[in-house]
Symmetry: C2
Subunit: 243 residues, 2 copies
DNA sequence: CACTCTCCCTTACAGTGTTAGGGAACACTC
DNA sequence: GAGTGTTCCCTAACACTGTAAGGGAGAGTG
């Protein structure tokens, strides 16, 4: 039906329901919000310019009025994520180790709950309100603990890249396991450990000997190790006595 | 020219120089080698299935006989990179701190020299000869230092994600600076520090106070901090006395 | 000989980021 | 109020991506 030229022409000259989105409906903030929505709902792989645009009731090329490239959009998303993470890290127990640890654990939890958040954050050079807020929280704890400004900024930097690096790896292991149909996030690790046990012991003596030790700790224990080692490392630094 | 049907037909029925690549020229190893070559020459963004295939004198779909997806190809590249990194980390001075530090610094140097290597590695769940070799080296040092098998595996894991996380960030800063035409890799950091200094001090008191401290350390100093803190953290762990 | 495997090929598809250029609505000046 | 510029959305199109479907030449084996 509707294949004769006349009705085809009719269809083509129909009003077509163009309905431009109303002007000004897209701001940089709205863009970040829409991006976060798509990210949470469909994941990073589905986060295309067209998808974000659709979320705003707009076509993809329109985004380029507000943003120079997709990369810039992701920068926006990155800082928005940091801003969203900040409230999850509110602590001041008086014990700087506990406070800094809580920040690390809170950040980890945030990165675990927010779908693909770590993949957006990792390897992104962020500077915006979100980043600043998170840094401020950490610097406050570190400064009050008596660390020098220099050590405090370095420690804050280290904390960020460490947690991000860890989570990037954890999430990779999770999705690798999911891709192969394994349920539970330890399955992959266990399997690898078994595989390693069968490796030639003359070539990888220490690795083979450690196979069982590798299968042992779950991600929580690994993270505890990473954080505690970092905190112990800070402990070795000089600091002025708290008042 | 050559727009009349006759010559068009001629052209279409020309031998066309089909020349299939000879069979068996593509192995999984050759595939990894070709991938590494493309990566080094043109960078990760230019590493498409078609580009890797061309490097092998083959068409893109042929790769799918050897590899299930591009992701699997990247896994191959990842382990090949680890294998390439291993010889760069050969040490045994007798001092475990020095040895482990040298491994970390060597790995960093490798990730800096090998274009986009860190972007391939980061967030990839690797298990292959390359990964095993690197782990073996680290475990040897840690074991001989007297750490328990458990602590040694955890420390090795931590070292890997820490260095990778750090380099991912460093390279991001570098390419962000390059993208904006800044030369030298500190320019971006300096600029940000200046920007932070102008932030509202009532909202970000510690951040503003630390602005100058942030501009100070270059990437080498930051890395030294990260590694030394990690080593100090290990020092706090119990270990059996060396013989 | 015929048959099966291996491994490359061509063709094609749906989807990507991005550019070029057009037009409607608003804000300002004369 | 007319004219002009700016803002912000649109359509059309491009070059390119990863990947599926199916074909065919050659080697190995009965």
């Amino acid at each position: 039906m509707a294949t004769d030229p006349a009705s085809r022409f009719q269809a083509m000259t129909q009003p077509q329901e163009v309905k431009s989105a109303e002007r000004g409906s897209v701001t940089r903030d709205a863009l970040a919000r829409a991006g976060l929505a798509v990210l949470q709902r469909d994941g990073l792989d589905a986060l295309s310019m067209r998808a974000v645009a659709a979320e705003l009731g707009v076509r993809a090329p329109s985004l380029y009025w507000h943003v120079r490239s997709k990369e810039e959009l992701l920068d926006l998303l990155g800082d928005a994520l940091m801003l969203a993470a900040a409230p999850d890290l509110p602590v001041r127990s008086g014990d700087w180790r506990a406070d800094l640890g809580a920040i690390a654990w809170g950040f980890r939890e945030f990165l675990r709950v927010r779908r693909d958040a770590v993949r957006v954050l990792a390897g992104r050079f962020l500077h915006g309100p979100g980043m600043w807020t998170v840094m401020e929280q950490q610097l406050e704890v570190l400064h009050d603990a008596g660390f020098s400004r220099q050590d405090a900024t370095l420690a804050s930097y280290t904390l960020g890249i460490t947690v991000t690096g860890f989570m990037l790896n954890e999430q990779a292991a999770v999705s690798a396991a999911e891709a192969e149909g394994r349920l539970g996030r330890r399955a992959a690790v266990d399997e690898i450990a078994g595989l390693i046990e069968g490796l030639p012991a003359d070539r990888y003596p220490h690795l083979v000997a450690s196979a069982r030790a590798m299968a042992g700790p779950d991600m929580d224990e690994r993270f505890r190790f990473v954080v505690d080692r970092f905190l112990d490392g800070l402990e070795a630094l000089p600091r002025t006595l708290p008042t």
